[in-house]
């Protein structure tokens, strides 16, 4: 059932880049092909994931209602959008926001889309993205076009691809930074987006930038690849560069990223990352998804060998203009204030104002300006609030807005003279929740609310903790206020529990055939120093007893900490045994008959069960670049046929030839590393690798189908009529089929050893 209005394309197409117009038209064609049964489930799943369209809980068509598992009879019948994923099941759309940067119009459009297609909420994620939930896949192309019209793409927001490039939200206004990393994050985003060297990963690849080493904002060390800004002096001139790290990650097997290079110059940062991507694409695990992140490759090879391979790869790479062209326009991301600098924050008699200023104002390095932090409960913001915020951003700033990994929004470049007025305007929009960055500001992944992998209700717990801690915060000691709490619904750590002082992740326990939601308590992680240390698990506590656990642990810290001792050091000093002793009694669960509340999760009256846990899509589908290319070739053949139907013979013939070229590129990937895009080179490589060697030859038809391609390449530019276009489509179809067959024969050949 298509919910969206198809006329949106006409409305916004003029505002979209031609590339995004083409990409989204292709995506819509892929949806059509999937509905016609002409696209494989796995391929479509990875295709939509790479466009940001993610699965959601219950999309396998089953849901436990607390009594029994009900079959959700979606109207789509057997039509699926991935293995065991019903077409009509609501899904999530992840929207990439590189370095969290947004402008006012983008906020408004996000609000519009949240209202029209989602549930009225835009959700800020722990990697500075925005997510919309309960989206119908048929609406996805329209949503993507409306986003594209304001310069936002969802491309590669999910799937085995380069994910959102995150960066410190205070970049450019921070006193501690070496320099503003924003233009570098921007350049890396668009250099790697859709880059051929980044299409063959076994898992996702997450980059992060930080402007300095000591603060937490960039969280570099928990990323697949990370960059910390630094400078050095060469011949009396200051040179910009980055400490570059690889192989970090959280999840079930957390790893701190390792130093790849102490100084990578700004000219080298893009090509060296590309070299990392090539090595990861070539040598990273493809079959076992649990071992496919780059951290496992770094583990396996060792950082020295991994580095050697990366620099060796770098040495043979053909230069690309975009490696350094951005350096000529580093200032395009420079921000300017809209209003004059102010001298103080006074001017509001509201008693809550001073309290809010304590935690929600960040002093910029630029005299007279501050950044205002909007604390969003669980990262959620309504469409009305987004519109209000866009008005405020226009009124007081040059629309300098960033999302943060703490699921908040920052309004930068507010004159100190305007802070009181901004506060009043934000208050009218109910956006003045105090306690940003304190223990009250609990972050959480979606957990069982919408995630297929969620084990316990992370958002339910986070909401509960926020409410309780906010009540207590008035009389709370500063040492407690400064602690960080993060909650994940499972061990995958999307909530970032490893890098919190107090982290929790969802687990379950069973007693007398009843399941009980629990959270594993993880203590002593380090948010500062770019997520400099990971916490350790202390034991599982029933979900309903976590608030009490927080009370006990924070009180013990307050009572027993030494002067200026951090929570991490406190945990290390008093030891696991004593900590465990503090909370041991809380592990007990009343019997089902005594207290059934323990057998339900937060904000969910259903009797708890693990039956709803599905197969996650975080890992995407491991679909080879060959399969993607062949699928694209088939889509192009379909489009060629449509063109022929519309009497566009010339266009149909070109499209048919492009299909052959795309299929050839896929086939060459099986034999040649780093296949390029130049058609002439591809034709030559095909001749050398497949035709002259007779590897492509069909057992019955010999070289006939390969000759079709070579002939088509030789005749490009000639005149075309309807008959010849028809013939070219037929030959292209046979060639694409022959590529499939050739790949099949190659995979059946015995390998040496």
């Amino acid at each position: 059932m298509k919910a969206s209005n198809p006329h949106w394309r006409e409305r916004v197409v003029e505002q979209m880049s031609s590339q995004l117009t083409e990409e989204l038209d292709q995506f819509e064609t892929e949806i059509t092909l999937k509905k016609q049964g002409k696209l494989d489930d796995r391929v479509f799943a990875e295709t939509r994931l790479r466009r940001g369209a993610y699965g959601q809980r219950y999309d396998n068509g089953r849901r436990n209602d607390g009594i029994k598992t009900q079959k959700l009879e979606f109207p789509c019948g057997t039509l699926t959008k991935g293995p065991d994923t019903a077409w009509d099941a609501p899904g999530m759309l992840r929207i990439k926001i590189p370095y969290g940067g947004l402008n006012a119009r983008q906020l408004e459009v996000l609000g519009e889309l949240a209202e029209e297609y989602s549930d009225g909420i835009a959700h800020v994620t722990t990697r500075q993205c925005i997510q919309l939930h309960f989206i119908h896949i048929d609406d996805a192309p329209t949503i993507m076009r409306r986003l594209a019209a304001v310069g936002i793409t969802t491309r590669e927001a999910c799937g085995n691809s380069v994910r959102n490039v995150t960066a410190c939200p205070f970049s450019g206004i921070c006193s501690d930074e070496a320099f503003d990393v924003t233009p570098y994050a921007h350049a890396l985003t668009y250099h790697l987006l859709g880059h051929p060297d980044c299409q063959n990963f076994g898992r996702k690849f997450k980059p992060a930038f930080s402007g300095c080493k000591d603060q937490p904002c960039g969280l570099v060390k928990m990323h697949d690849v990370g960059y910390i800004a630094t400078t050095r002096e060469v011949d009396g001139k200051v040179q910009r560069g980055f400490e570059m790290y690889v192989g970090g990650g959280l999840g079930a097997v957390p790893r701190q990223a390792k130093l790849l290079s102490e100084f990578v110059s700004e000219e080298e940062i893009l090509p060296l990352t590309q070299a990392v991507a090539r090595v990861f694409g070539r040598l990273g695990e493809k079959k076992n998804r649990g071992k496919a992140r780059i951290k496992f490759l770094v583990d396996k090879l060792g950082i020295e060998e991994f580095s050697r391979l990366v620099f060796e790869e770098r040495s043979i790479m053909e230069p690309e203009a975009s490696w350094t062209s951005y350096l000529d326009e580093l200032d395009i991301k420079d921000e300017k204030p809209l209003r004059d600098a102010g001298s103080d924050l006074a001017g509001n008699d509201d008693p809550e104002f001073a309290k809010w200023c304590e935690t929600n104002i960040y002093q910029q390095k630029q005299e007279g300006f501050v950044a205002v932090i909007l604390s969003l409960p669980l990262g959620d913001i309504t469409a009305d609030q987004l519109r209000s915020l866009s008005d405020i951003a226009r009124k007081y700033t040059n629309e300098t807005i960033r999302t943060t990994v703490e699921q908040n929004i920052i309004l930068r470049w507010v004159s100190k003279a305007d802070v009181a007025a901004v506060y009043s305007d934000l208050k009218a929009a109910e956006l003045v929740i105090p306690g940003a960055g304190t223990i009250v500001d609990v972050t959480s992944c979606p957990g069982t609310d919408t995630c297929k992998l969620g084990i316990s209700s992370s958002r339910g717990l986070a909401a509960q903790l926020r409410e309780r801690l906010a009540e207590k915060s008035v009389h709370m000691d500063q040492a407690i206020k400064d602690l960080v709490i993060k909650v994940s619904g499972c061990f995958n750590s999307c909530g970032g529990h490893h890098v919190a002082d107090l982290g929790f992740y969802g687990v379950s326990r069973s007693i007398n055939k009843h399941s009980i939601p629990h959270f594993q308590v993880v203590l002593g992680g380090q948010w500062s120093h770019n997520a400099g240390a990971y916490g350790l698990p202390m034991g599982a506590i029933p979900s309903k007893r976590i608030p009490e656990t927080v009370d006990r642990l924070t009180q013990a810290f307050l009572d027993k900490k030494e002067k200026d001792e951090s929570f991490k050091d406190f945990v290390g000093r008093i030891g696991k045994a004593e900590i465990k002793g503090l909370i041991q009694d809380l592990t007990q669960v009343p019997t089902y008959e005594e207290d059934r509340s323990y057998y339900s999760d937060w904000s969910d009256p259903r009797e708890y069960t693990k039956d709803d846990i599905g197969i996650g899509e975080c890992a995407g589908e491991v679909v080879t670049a060959f399969t993607f290319d062949l699928t694209s070739a088939e889509r192009m053949l379909f489009e060629a046929q449509l063109k022929l139907e519309k009497d566009d013979s010339q266009g149909a013939a070109i499209q048919a030839f492009d299909a052959m070229v795309t299929a050839t590129r896929g086939l060459l990937r099986l034999k040649v590393p780093n296949v390029g895009k130049d058609t002439e080179t591809l034709v030559q490589q095909f001749r050398t690798e497949y035709f002259d060697t007779e590897l492509f030859f069909d057992p019955y038809a010999g070289g006939k189908f390969g000759q079709y391609f070579l002939d088509a390449a030789a005749s490009q530019g000639g005149s075309v009529d309807k008959d010849s276009a028809h013939r070219q489509i037929e030959e292209a179809s046979l060639f694409v089929e022959a590529c499939h067959a050739c790949s099949g024969r190659m995979s059946e050949q015995p390998t040496a050893g």
Binding site: Y58, R63, P75, H136, D380
Partner: protein, 187 residues
């Protein structure tokens, strides 16, 4: 209204008289029970809890065709029927269907033990929204095109009376019309 102005995604909100009497935790429990019973003529899928968001969507029962919620937008608690999928009917018939569906939800809730005696509705006001900015641009022209269908739908459901209409002034909002029904509407 011409056929080309094909109304879809009509939303209807009836306002709760005494929001203080309503505990939204009860809404969570009731909506989960409705899923167990598949109480509505829609595939009921899940419950979304947004109680933590000030003036937010409150508690939503997510269905395949529509979302049904205790909506707290603009700090004005009400029952919101939010149609997601297209319907066969056009114009006034579509608005009428949406109003009737919203009324059905209200009546189910009023009859539920959790809300009996607590849940009452404002009877002289409701809100209609067109949840697609291309179908219903929030401007005076669209508003005027909508009024005949809207009036016809209201008369069909609540009878003739001197309805008055006010459009939301912010042009960025969806086409949103507040309806005053001085002689009251039966919920």
């Amino acid at each position: 209204m011409s056929d080309s102005f094909d109304l879809q995604h009509v939303n209807v909100k009836f306002f709760v008289k005494d929001a203080g009497a309503i505990n939204l935790e009860d809404a969570i429990n009731v909506f989960h029970a409705w899923i167990q019973e598949q109480k509505l003529d829609d595939l009921l899928i899940d419950v979304a809890d947004y109680r933590h968001v000030p003036s937010g969507p409150g508690v939503i029962l997510v269905g395949h065709n529509a979302q049904y919620s205790f909506d707290n937008a603009e700090s004005n608690l009400g029952i919101l029927y939010n149609r997601k999928t297209p319907v066969e009917a056009k114009g006034a018939a579509n608005v009428q269907k949406a109003i009737e569906r919203a009324l059905e939800i209200c009546r189910h809730l009023v009859a539920d033990d959790a809300f009996r005696g607590k849940l009452e509705f404002v009877t002289d006001r409701l809100q209609i929204m067109i949840n697609d900015r291309l179908i219903g641009v929030n401007d005076q022209a669209s508003f005027e095109r909508l009024l005949p269908d809207l009036t016809a739908a209201l008369v069909s459901v609540f009878g003739e009376q001197d309805y008055s209409f006010e459009r939301a002034s912010d042009s960025r909002k969806r086409l949103t019309v507040s309806v005053d029904a001085p002689q009251g509407i039966a919920i």
